[in-house]
Structures are given as structure tokens and as C-alpha cells.
Symmetry: C2
Subunit: 463 residues, 2 copies
């Protein structure tokens, strides 16, 4: 009996070993293909240079939708289709001016960019300035000190976080909610320090929102260097007044599309493996890292399967979402469609943290799924991927979360992302070819493994 | 008895746990200090901008020596001293020209840089060109096809390696030995494709050497883009002849110095923990990644100990080596001094792979040392360091290898290093502040742990 069990064990072990060797060979082939013949870098060049930035509702966002469909056709995907959605249509307009007057009546101009969703100023808005470094301070100063003033939110991102995404997550509330919180105390506008750890003259935009119950006031971001200088001037009472002029405005919602392409599964076509990123971007820069990188990497997964003649068992679906930046209408609509059609998703992966050197995956799944994906970790060691831990996936695929589906985010090195994020520096030239390709290889590899072996669902836990 | 053993075990376990918690707190403090108050980034700016590039024997290399000593004084190290060495003195001169004439007699100029150590051309050298893509080809073509010609070594770095250092290591022989190998078949000069995976117009220099037995011929690097274009032109017989003019020459050896600074150990002052990099650089660019980064990170280790008031048990020694790039006289001299003085080195760490996001350490020690250092791995997980594996340390500390001493190299992300390496792009602006600081934090942390707990030597294996 012991001998028999030993034999069985040896057979199992050797089967596992052979599977590992095969997988290891296949992953090596996927990396080699992407590093030598992959098209994601040239596709990104085309998206950045031929289309450019592409805020939801804009003409160039529509151009991006056409670009995406054409590229999917070129990649010879089995099915290509659009999902029609209504998206917010905010426009920046031509005027963005922030300046302050010092005690000597000299005007100091400041690099600024309106926050997405902000109302305009309707001419020049002037006011006294009050600096706020945390929410408690806002309450402490209260209406008495704030009413009629422009509130300057100057809390910096915390440089001691190792993940800059964590630093961003812990700071972005002042950008997103600053206006709606400050207006409660009678503020007439808000100026927000840009969300970056880099000390420079680049302002970074991003979404803000108003609550239904509050009055709307204009909101603008200024560069970290300007925020620092302004704060120093305030300390020595050298700011007499601040002027702000913004021509941005919200137009009626307009039509746009998620763009979807598939390779049909050969064995379980009803089981869907999703890879995606978002096609829209902010309207400054070129949306290269955010999220051109994710979009071209996602398509590269399907292209690599096609070109390497790997026939997936499950249906591989590349989703290029619309409107992640200022509404997530694409992500919400997609998830609704999945629920309405009772589509079965096995695995959904998003790449939306920049096209940098990949470090691993953050896994938003149940314990069984997490542990299962961690068994692949050693296969990724030669490719220097080491993060296989519980964590957030992404905004686009977030609405799919249902307690069963395993959601995953690609985790690249985070140090440089917020140097470029939502600024004019987020251009193709700041994306590194090999780093982008390594990211594409990583997600192609994990999709390959999940397609080959499946993935436990929470139902299997119940069993 | 069992109860007693259990108790002992529990005590040991809890002691270990407390040590881990203390270490984890201390590492967090080290990272926080470096990310908020460390000086390495500003020190690098000063080295790059106030001193500039600093090839051994040059005036600016001497300036770098003085800069280093002054900075060590400012850091208030206990001991600061120089090691006098004789270094090669190669000068580039003013003229560097490569061009080729096509069938229509048009001249195509090529971006080039003489290889360090090359002789000049003594006027314009003209010749026919023959392309070589591997050593076998050289032998195959032989004197019959090569004699009197200029040999064009065009083997590219292999993009399928994940570590670009590996790709470099497997390709750099054609740069280093190309001239001495080609001259055996009667070549009159060599042109080498630049050692980079980036496809651009930047030529990259680097060392080459002649063997004593062979005639010397000029050697020059051209950019990858130019190498590609030249190769394409050769394929269609569109290269009539190639012209080369280099004014570089070797001058007599001259005096220079390793610069050394120490904090004396409080308990085992005779045991030395070394951290270092090299002060010299190539004479184009600013030697920012190679190896200004390593130099300022190494000093940052000692500065952090001083500023955080951590008293090391062992002597911490920062060595800024001279002449890594074209001779390693500093490294050799230092190792001789150690042997002559019977100094006891416990641990030597080199940072010389660029100031990029750190990934871990490559450990050139015995099995016991390797396994011991690997027990620290979990302490580094929050800082995203994951490589703790057997591997090469570095050129400067290499000569210290004696089978007992544990040599370690900091391993940063390698994707971008060879984009800048030995080219005019290796400037301060291409170093990322946080990435540099994270590297400094990583080496400070490992030095802290090795100082605190010691390290097994091969003697302890013998016991």
C-alpha cells in the first residue's frame, strides 16, 4: 500500500514537474515574442501621436474609439464590437490663469490646470487666500475664517510610502472633495496642490466632484513648486490677493463607446477571461502611461495568442473602456451588461498603473483564488515579478466585483508614475519600450496560465 | 523535559520575534530618513554639475577626489584618507569622425565615440568595410577577406534577456576584444555597435584593450541606429568606403587616489564593513548613474548612521574607488592594501548598476553567508526588494574575493541602465530622486543588519 501510494505520489509529482517545465517554456516563448516582435510600443506611439489625448466626449475620444476598432481588426480578432454609453462632456476652454499679488503689488503667475468637472469662473475671480493642510484645520478655521475666501489645499503626498499609489490614495481626497467640503464653510474657489511627489512646475489635473446639496465653486490645481512658493509667501504675509480665471465648463452628456475584441474559446467559450485598460485620458499630455500603456498591453495579450498560434480554451476578451477618468461610465455599463446577460467571467485583469517595469499582480479574489494564483509565482521569478498579494485591481473592472470573480491588477514599479500622471508630461517619450513589453508579457503569461488551468471560484469553496 | 524544551523554544521564538520587530522599526526609520532628509540626490547633483565627468587621470577626476574628501569632512566621518595610485591617462582629443561614402558618392556622417584606450588614426584613415556578427564569422572570413579592411562588429545585445546586465555581459567582448581579435586577420581599424538595447543615435564608449603581442588599431563605437543603417547599406552594396578620424591617445600613467572615509566601530573596530562605488567615470555625459549614484549612495549609508545617531559595532568604511572604468587600479590597490595590512573585512557591498529602483542584492559569498543574508529577506519585503540570490558583486570590490569575505552588489531595476551607460545621456537629469534614495535606504538597511548581527565566515563553516 505504501509502495503504491509512493508510486502515485511520484507520478503526480513528475506530472506536476512536466507541467511546470512546459509552462516555463511557454512563458519564455511569450516573453521572447513580446520583446522581439510585439507591437505594443508602436501601437502606443500611434495612439499618442495619431490620436493624442482623448477626454471622454471629445472629438479625439471618438477618434480613439475608431483607432481601437481598426487595430482590433488588424489583429484579426474573432469578434469586435462597441458598447454605447453616455459619457460626461467637460471642456477645459482656453483660459486658465492663476496669479497672486504680493505686498509690493507685483503679480506672480502660477502654473495651473483646472480640475476636471470644475465650473469656470465667469470672468476673473479675486479673493483672499487661506491655506489648509488637513481636514481638521478646515473645521477648526470654520466659516469665520473661510467665508468669502479661496481655500488653498496644500497637503503634500507622503514621501515615506514606498508605493506612490498608496501616497496618492491617501492624498487625493483633497483634490476630489476639496471644493465640496470648502464650500460648506463659504469658500468661493479652491486651489489644490498637484498630486505628485515630484517637486516641479508641472500642474496635474484629475477629477473632482460636487455633491448635489452644495453650491459649485471653481477648482484648480497648481504645481508643487508653485504650491510651495505660495505657502512660503503666505507664511510671511506676502500674499495680498489671488486671481483666478477658468473657462472650463460641463456640456450635456454625449455618446461614446467601450471597444471590445475577442478570441473565442475552443473548449469553454462561455467562460470569459478579460484584460483591459481605459481608452480615455485627460486632455493634457497624451495619456501615454494613463492609460495608453494598459490599452496596448491588453490588446498585446490577444495579439500574442494569435501570432503564437495559441488557441485559448476560454474566450479572451480585450476591453478598452471609455470614461475611467471622470465618471467610470464604461466600467459601470460593462458590469451591468455582464449581469444582464448572465455572462460568466472567470478572471478580469486591468493594467492602469503605468507602463513601467512590472513587479507583480495585486489580487482581489477569495482566499482560494489568491492561493491558487500564488502557486504560479515561481514561474514568474525569472521575469522578476515578485508581488502576488491581496490588493486592489482597478477602477474599470471594479464594478464587476461580485464576491466570485477574481479581479487582478498589474503592478508595475510605482516610483515614476505620478511624475507624469494627468500632466502634460504623460507622453509617449516617457514610456520605456522594454518596460512596456515586459508588462505585456507578464499579463499575457498569467492569462495563458489561467486559461490553461482555470481558476477556483467561490462556488468551489462552497463545495 | 518536554515542557522545559517547549519553554526554551517559546523564549527563543519570542526573542526572535522581538528582534524582528525592532529591526523592522529601524529599517522603517532608515527609509523614512533617507526619503525625507537624505542628501544623496543633492550630492549627486553637485558631483555631476560642479565636477562633471571625471575620467581617470583627468583634471576633473582630481577635482572629484577633492570633492569627495570635502563631502566626507562635511559628513563628519571619524577618519578620511587617500590611497595614492597610478592610473592610466587616456585622452579623447577633439576629433572624432566616422563617415561613409555611398555609390552616388554622397557622404553619410555617423555619430561616433572613440573607445577608451584606443589609439588615434593619425589623420584620416580610409578603408573598405566588412561586417562581423559573431566570432566564428571572423575566423571564417579570415585574412583573405579581412586584411586591409575596417571590421564592423555589429552583434546586438540580446533583447530576450530580462536582465540587461546579462545581455551586456554576453555582448561586450566585441567592444573589449574586437580590435585585438580583428588585427590578427589584418584589419586596419574596428567600428563597434554601441552596447545598448535602445535604438537611437547615441554612441556609447567604454573600455577596450590591446594584447601585448598584437599591433594596435583604432577602435570606435557608433550608435545603434547608425549601425543598423550601415548594415542595411552594406547588404545592398551601397558602401563604397569608410573614413575614420580619431585624435585620442594614451598618455603616461599619472597619480590619482581612492578616497576613503570611516566611522569607527564601537565594539569590533577591527572588523570592517565596506560600502563603495567608483568616483571615476567616462568622459562623456556626467557619470550620473555610472557611478555617481553608487558613490553618493555609499556615503549616504555613513551619513544616515551619523544623523540617526546609530553607533555601529563594526567599522563602516565608504570607499570611493578610482579607475574602475579603464583599469581597476583603485580596486586592485585597495585589495592589496587589505592583504598587506591583514585587515579584516566582514562584508563588502558595491553599488555600480545605476541609481534605479532597487530590486535586491546579488550575493557572492559562501552557502552559509548566502543563507544567512536570505533570512533578512522578509524584512525587505515592505520595500519591494526581492532578489537575494547568488551572483556577481562588482568590479571595484571584486579583487577582495578570497573565499571568506562576503561580497554583495546592489541590484536595481536594469531596464534603463544601458540607455545611458557610457553615453552623453548619463546625466543627473536622468536619475530619479526617489529611486536613488530607495537604493541608499536598501544598502543602509543591509549594512545596519550585518553590523548588528555579524555574518558567518567560511571559518565558522570549518568549525
Amino acid at each position: 500500500m505504501i509502495k503504491y501510494l509512493l508510486k502515485i505520489n511520484l507520478i503526480l509529482l513528475s506530472t506536476q514537474l512536466i507541467a511546470q517545465i512546459n509552462d516555463s517554456t511557454q512563458l519564455r516563448a511569450i516573453y521572447t515574442y513580446n520583446l522581439t516582435q510585439g507591437n505594443c510600443y508602436e501601437n502606443l506611439r500611434s495612439l499618442c501621436k495619431d490620436v493624442g489625448n482623448r477626454l471622454s466626449g471629445s472629438h479625439s475620444a471618438q477618434k480613439a474609439v475608431e483607432w481601437a476598432a481598426l487595430l482590433m481588426e488588424k489583429t484579426k480578432l474573432d469578434t469586435i464590437y462597441f458598447q454605447r454609453i453616455m459619457v460626461p462632456h467637460w471642456v477645459r476652454g482656453k483660459t486658465e490663469l492663476v496669479s497672486w499679488k504680493n505686498k509690493k503689488d507685483s503679480i506672480v503667475n502660477v502654473n495651473c490646470t483646472a480640475l476636471g468637472g470644475s465650473i469656470g469662473t465667469n470672468g476673473v475671480l479675486k479673493g483672499d487666500l487661506i491655506e489648509i493642510n488637513n481636514w481638521n484645520q478646515l473645521e477648526e478655521y470654520g466659516e469665520k475664517l473661510i467665508k468669502g475666501k479661496i481655500v488653498f489645499f496644500n497637503r503634500p503626498m507622503n514621501p515615506t510610502y514606498i508605493s506612490t499609489g498608496m501616497a496618492y490614495g491617501n492624498c487625493v481626497d483633497q483634490r476630489h472633495n476639496g471644493a465640496s467640503r470648502a464650500v460648506e464653510y463659504g469658500a468661493i474657489a479652491v486651489i489644490v496642490r498637484s498630486m505628485t511627489l515630484k517637486f516641479d512646475k508641472n500642474p496635474h489635473t484629475g477629477s473632482m466632484s460636487y455633491t448635489d446639496s452644495t453650491k459649485k465653486i471653481p477648482a484648480v490645481a497648481i504645481s508643487t513648486k508653485d504650491a510651495h512658493d505660495l505657502s512660503e509667501a503666505l507664511k510671511i504675509n506676502n500674499v495680498k490677493s489671488l486671481s483666478l480665471e477658468l473657462s472650463c465648463k460641463q456640456l450635456p452628456d454625449t455618446v461614446s463607446y467601450n471597444v471590445i475584441g475577442e478570441i473565442k474559446g475552443s473548449k469553454f467559450p462561455e467562460e470569459i477571461i478579460l484584460v483591459g485598460g481605459h481608452l480615455d485620458s485627460w486632455d493634457i499630455g497624451e495619456g501615454a502611461h494613463d492609460d495608453g500603456a494598459g490599452v496596448v498591453q491588453s490588446l498585446q495579450v490577444l495579439e500574442t495568442f494569435k501570432k503564437m498560434n495559441i488557441k485559448p480554451k476560454r474566450t479572451l476578451r480585450c476591453v478598452m473602456y471609455m470614461n475611467e477618468e471622470n465618471g467610470n461610465r464604461g466600467g459601470e455599463h460593462y458590469a451591468n451588461m455582464v449581469r444582464n446577460n448572465s455572462e460568466k467571467h472567470l478572471f478580469a485583469l486591468e493594467s492602469d498603473r503605468g507602463g513601467f517595469s512590472p513587479r507583480g499582480f495585486s489580487i482581489d479574489g477569495n482566499k482560494l483564488q489568491l492561493e491558487y494564483l500564488q502557486t504560479f509565482k515561481n514561474l514568474f521569478e525569472p521575469y522578476q515579478l515578485h508581488i502576488f498579494s491581496k490588493g486592489y485591481s482597478g477602477v474599470d473592472i471594479g464594478p464587476l466585483k461580485d464576491g466570485k470573480l477574481c479581479l487582478v491588477g498589474l503592478v508595475p514599479d510605482s516610483q515614476r508614475y505620478f511624475d507624469y500622471h494627468h500632466s502634460k508630461e504623460d507622453v509617449f517619450e516617457n514610456v520605456h519600450k522594454r518596460e512596456l513589453e515586459l508588462g505585456a508579457s507578464a499579463i499575457t503569461s498569467i492569462v495563458y496560465l489561467v486559461d490553461k488551468y482555470g481558476l477556483p471560484s467561490s462556488e468551489s469553496i462552497k463545495k
